[in-house]
């Protein structure tokens, strides 16, 4: 189940993104992924492992939203685009050509993050700016 390792990679990227807002901790509502259908990713398993992984973290409650990107090939014989399918051995339906060029379907992309920021950072995380009165 390589979705566990993929989730680990995703969490590393999310932790890096969080640093941009330090010391504020963003409240993430949704993380949007684009996942091509010509990848080894099972979206339901990725969502499941995400939910388990974030439940006790700063991302608790954040939803993983996966947009499936269809496999689209381009026939180099006639330049037409088509949806390669295992049923037709990935051939182009126009010229019977093998799957030369993949236009889309290999995406494994973190597209965007939807979040809110608190009015002010939690007191415990605010840098101390108090200046001691002059003696």
């Amino acid at each position: 189940m390589h979705e566990v390792d993929m989730t680990k990679c995703l969490l590393l990227s999310m932790n890096q993104w969080k640093q941009q807002h330090a010391p504020t901790i963003p409240s993430v509502q949704q993380v949007h992924l684009q996942v091509g259908t010509f990848t080894c990713v099972e979206p339901e398993q990725l969502v499941f492992t995400w939910r388990v992984a974030v439940q006790a973290s700063w991302l608790a409650g954040a939803e993983l939203v996966i947009e499936a990107v269809p496999l689209v090939g381009r026939c180099l014989q006639c330049n037409a685009t088509y949806n390669p399918s295992p049923d037709s051995a990935y051939r182009s339906p126009c010229c019977d050509h093998p799957m030369e060029e993949i236009v889309s379907g290999r995406e494994l992309r973190i597209r965007s993050v939807e979040y809110t920021l608190p009015e002010s950072p939690p007191a415990s995380l605010q840098p101390s700016l108090a200046v001691a009165p002059a003696a």
């Binding site: 390589h2 390792d5 990679c9 990848t39 295992p86 992309r109 973190i110 993050v113």
Partner: protein, 246 residues
């Protein structure tokens, strides 16, 4: 709370692994060694092929192996017997090697030898036709094996692996007389999902086809050796992707 915000990241889902893989590749380039990621289903003959290829190529290339396995050191021990340095990477429950595991293997290898003295580094991945296809390790070439006993439909059933491969070896061809399988159909299905990869029919038992496969390896190695040296042999500086030689 403020209004909802949205940041566009456009990052690869596996960016963390890709970053480590790129770091590994920069080391390989600085050391001027060709790194091969050898993948297949369990039992397709990766270790048997390596035994034959290591023995055949030892007179002309300095080589080492990073040997990935979920459990046991059995494969590593087989390859050690050929006389080539082998570092086992036992993945536990993980069904593939990732770039960080390979980096860990490299650290152990560096305690035993100077990687700059090597020409070829073989990484034998965990037997699996799915997961290894998505996890780069910093390799220069991906080599996939498919044995004739697995049936001719596997390139269509596991297309990502065969699409990603630079070279596919159809193994155990000495068994063809005893099987209801047409090797031409296997080749055709590989070509359907990846018309640009090199395909060779080989048998580690009889030795058939090994010379053509080794010639392909020699061409890849020569292409790497003749490519412009990295401007700065500093792993922090990215090197250009080598051009694939057919």
């Amino acid at each position: 709370m403020h209004m909802p915000l949205e940041d566009t990241l456009g990052l690869n889902l596996l960016a963390a692994n890709q970053h480590q893989a790129q770091h590994n590749r920069q080391h390989f380039d600085a050391w001027r060694l060709l790194c091969l990621n050898v993948m297949s289903s369990p039992g397709a003959g990766k270790t048997s092929l390596l035994e034959r290829s290591l023995a055949a190529l030892a007179p002309e290339f300095a080589m080492a192996v990073l040997e990935g396995d979920m459990t046991t050191l059995l494969d590593a021990e087989r390859l050690e017997a050929v006389g080539v340095p082998v570092v086992p990477i036992t993945t536990g429950r993980a069904c593939h090697l990732d770039a960080a595991m390979v980096s860990g293997g490299l650290k152990i290898l560096r305690q035993r030898l100077d990687p700059a003295s090597l020409d070829l580094l073989w990484v034998e991945n965990v037997g699996n036709l799915v997961c290894p296809a998505e996890f780069e390790i910093g390799e220069h070439r991906k080599v996939a094996l498919l044995s004739v006993t697995e049936g001719d439909d596997k390139p269509l059933k596991y297309p990502v692996m065969f699409r990603e491969a630079d070279c596919v070896l159809i193994t155990k061809v000495d068994l063809l007389p005893y099987l209801p399988v047409q090797v031409e159909r296997i080749e055709a299905h590989i070509q359907q999902v990846n018309p640009r990869c090199a395909v060779f029919q080989v048998s580690a038992s009889s030795g058939v086809g090994l010379e053509a496969w080794h010639d392909w390896l020699r061409r890849q190695r020569a292409a790497l050796a003749s490519a412009a040296a990295p401007a700065v042999a500093d792993p922090a500086v990215s090197a250009p992707e080598p051009v694939l030689v057919p």
